[in-house]
Amino acid sequence: MTLILAVTMLDALTRAQARFYASHHFAEVFADITRAPLSLVGRLQRLPGVNLIEARVGGPVRLTVSDFTDPVRGQLVSIPDGRQPTLNRLHLLAGQLPMAGREDQVVASDAFAAAHGLVPGDHVEAIIDGRRTRLTLSGIALSPEFLYQAGPTDLVPDYRRYAILWMNQTSLADAYGMEGAFNQLSLTLQAGADREGVIDALDVALARYGGTGARTRHDQPSHRFLEEELDQQRAQATILPTVFLLVSVFLLHVVMTRLIGTQRRQIALLKAFGYRDSELARHYAGLALLIVLLGWALGVGLGAWSARWMAGLYAEYFRFPEMRFPIPLWALGLSLLLAGLSALAGAGRAVWQAVSAPPAEAMRPPAPRRFRRTWLERSPLRHALGSEGRIVLRHLGRQPAKTALSVTGIALSAGLLMMGAWQIEALDRMLDRQYREILRMDIELTFNNPTPQRALGELRHLPGVLVVEPWRRVPATLIHGHRQYRTALLGLEAIPRLRPIVDAAGTARPLPAEGLVLTRYLGEWLGVEVGDLLEVAIMEGHRRHASLPVAALVDEPVGVGAYLRRERLNRLMREGPAIGGAWLLIDADHREALITALDELPAVASIGVMDEAERGVRRYLDETLQVFALVFVSLAGSIAFGVIYNNARISFAERARELATLLVLGYTRAEVSRILLGEIALLGALAILPGWAFGAGFCALLSEGFSSDLFRIPLLFTPRIFGLSALGVILASGLVGLLMLRRLWRLDQVAVLKAPE
């Protein structure tokens, strides 16, 4: 079921992505520049490997929507006057494109419009390059470029606070002072073109126009995030079902062994009648397959249903025009094949043992049971044990292999439970760390352009501002050997307080005077160690190269980054003490007033409110990964219950006679129940420790599978994680205990004793 769930989800997303990309001509290479004349486009078109090319104007915008006080950030993107663009076409959901010649008309992104209940004809206020303008919505659309629309500092989308607006090229160029020029470029490649070659050629051609380096889809934010999400689905689609399958193979084996154990005599009888081994083997294999087939059908049903449900949740974050859920045929086949194989593997040995015994031997009851005193009885504990305790211990001690199997089964399911609990808990911890320890600011301001440091004084005097801390961010490519990674250098104060560099112990550390601090994941990916020299290609202004030593690696759970002192970055950029933005700590009572005041500042390109961002991330994770984890925990819980129940049921049948005898001897049912419950409790208790060990292993596997440059789920184990796994076993044991009590109360002592042994 998990396989179907994960695979169907994955398939639905992948297909929706591919379909949408193809039908709307999603570009393959993107480039931003400061300003270049439109005449350049013709020349670039002739670069070898370039297929379609389109230039446009785009830039940040701040918006106000009536009845909504928080700042809304957005991106303005130009489209040819009154026409669809050639690349990154819009998928109009309502209204129409702006009419040629209309300066005030825009098409708004669907998610933003939906979040505010905007329809064509409604108005929004915009501050474009410092000037306030009133815009009219002519239409609402989706774009392959913005399937996933998160602001530059957000991790997950916040559609109420982030908008994409498309506007006629002439009007937008006018607003930004870009007449006859462009600052964004998209293109597709000819089949078989050398992608790197094209990018290099573009970079050379665009360098003198302030190019920040051409990017492939891999570095395009929406595409990137979607891919990450799909990667995680992929990890889940492989790791989880594998673990589950192994566990179920094991369980099936236990069930079949016991089932066939009880049928030894029938098997022998059939053999005595002349049935062939192969015919019997076929019969039992058939039985195992039947069990599996039923389970599989149920699993497919449940899997498909929950995949649809979960994909519905994802649809809110990834805006696809359509999403279909055919269960991929190969997944159906694969899951059936795996389940069938696992059944045969599980049942195979048991069947073989039963079938291969000579009939005369199998007719005899199993060898007389040999009991021993267990080691525990020789210990000082023996007085506390009592007769019931002795019965339980010897029963379990008689068949150590069987007991070990049962304990392993329960432990495996406890491990699965722990894995689910860990997912929930560790994600929460990850966010706590990110938002409580690392991102301590309340508000992140980004300026339109690098700004002199004295702007800080002005910020400090705004109402409600408690602390101001500047930063400077410069896009750069980090290069080590043949590995390179596009990111940004973040210039911080010597001891950043609103965005501390936190070591593993949780204490903030000062930034080294020289050199870079890298997120450990990035450092490992690049293959650098502390002390190595890293080549840095600055992608802004004059595109310099520099070599910087790696001064430290830090563990940060979310994102990757390269940090250095701001003066160092300023020196690298050969600029004065410029800042790109500032972080604020504010007095919550003045929040509204402050945001209004910030809105009035023309230099501010965007205002990011951190607690909104955090809330968004948490909601996103709650609705996606956490749901999966919950489904998972309930599955693991039912497996735990299944194992324990099956075990107790067989044990009950094996000793119904003894229980009846005790009743006849004058034991009350309550006294007798101690034996049953004692055994269940003992098995459960024995399973908890190894269960934790399995769990830790599963978690490590999953943590590894989930690690990406977007986030790493820390492999941490809190008492709650252990507790939840133990609690699951205890609850399942308790439930089974109740069921067994019911059986005991219904046990007909007389009938049982009349039957021969």
Binding site: S387, I391, R398, L665, G666, E671
Partner: protein
């Protein structure tokens, strides 16, 4: 006739029917019976005549459909499950055709299961030496012969010093030699104690060792005979 004080157990008009879907099986059709203190009774009857049904009701394992059962002054007919359990725990010992020992416990521990919960028991060792198994205290059931296992079962039944020892076909699963050895044990115990003992069997020969033989047929007492000469178990033959 004997004194009323010596009556341990008395039944009046005891019936028991089993309902199996549409059919009702009359297992007992009105049994009037008195068991006296320290006597050895053999209940004789063909298979299906209702012997086990009667014994189970006398021992508080089952309830009559109508009629009454009195143990001394107490009425078992209307006793609760809990009261029946207490009755069994303190006053009744059972021996079955199949020994029903707990396989994971030694002979001594099997007996201790009973002595742990009774009021004035023999020690497990004493009970086992009464049945001649003092040398087998620490053997597990699987290490004992059938006859020995049955003697452990008897030791377990008498360890609580019951007023009533009820044996349902105690020799049924044993060959004649071992069976007689088991009967000898019961006979000796009967002689040395006040316990009333009832042995169920379809083997008429065993009746020769009884104080009284109760003949059952189709769920009714067909007659009660007193053997002219009570024989020693060791003299029996079949």
């Amino acid at each position: 006739m004997e004194n009323d004080r010596d009556v341990v157990l008395a039944t009046r008009g005891l019936t028991r029917h089993y309902r199996m879907g549409e059919v009702t099986i009359q297992a007992l059709r009105g049994v009037d019976l008195e068991l006296h203190r320290s006597e050895l009774i053999v209940m004789l009857g063909a298979s299906g005549s209702g012997k086990s049904t009667l014994l189970n009701i006398l021992g508080g394992l089952d309830r009559a459909s109508s009629g009454t059962v009195h143990y001394g002054d107490s009425d078992l007919t209307h006793a609760s499950q809990r009261q029946l359990t207490t009755y069994r725990r303190h006053h009744v010992g059972f021996v079955f055709q199949f020994y029903n020992l707990i396989a994971s416990l030694t002979a001594r521990e099997n007996v201790a299961m009973v002595t742990d919960i009774s009021r004035d028991p023999l020690t497990p060792e004493a009970a086992l030496s009464r049945v001649g198994l003092e040398g087998r205290l620490d053997h597990f059931p699987s290490q004992l012969s059938g006859g020995e296992q049955q003697r452990v079962a008897i030791a377990r039944a008498i360890a609580k010093r019951p007023s009533l020892l009820l044996c349902d076909e105690p020799t049924g699963a044993l060959d004649s030699h071992t069976g007689i050895r088991v009967l000898e044990v019961i006979e000796t115990l009967n002689r040395e104690s006040d316990t009333t003992m009832a042995i169920i069997t379809h083997n008429a020969v065993i009746g020769e060792m009884a104080d009284r033989v109760i003949h059952l047929r189709d769920g009714r007492v067909e007659g009660i005979t007193v053997p002219t000469r009570r024989r020693r178990a060791s003299e029996l033959q079949w």
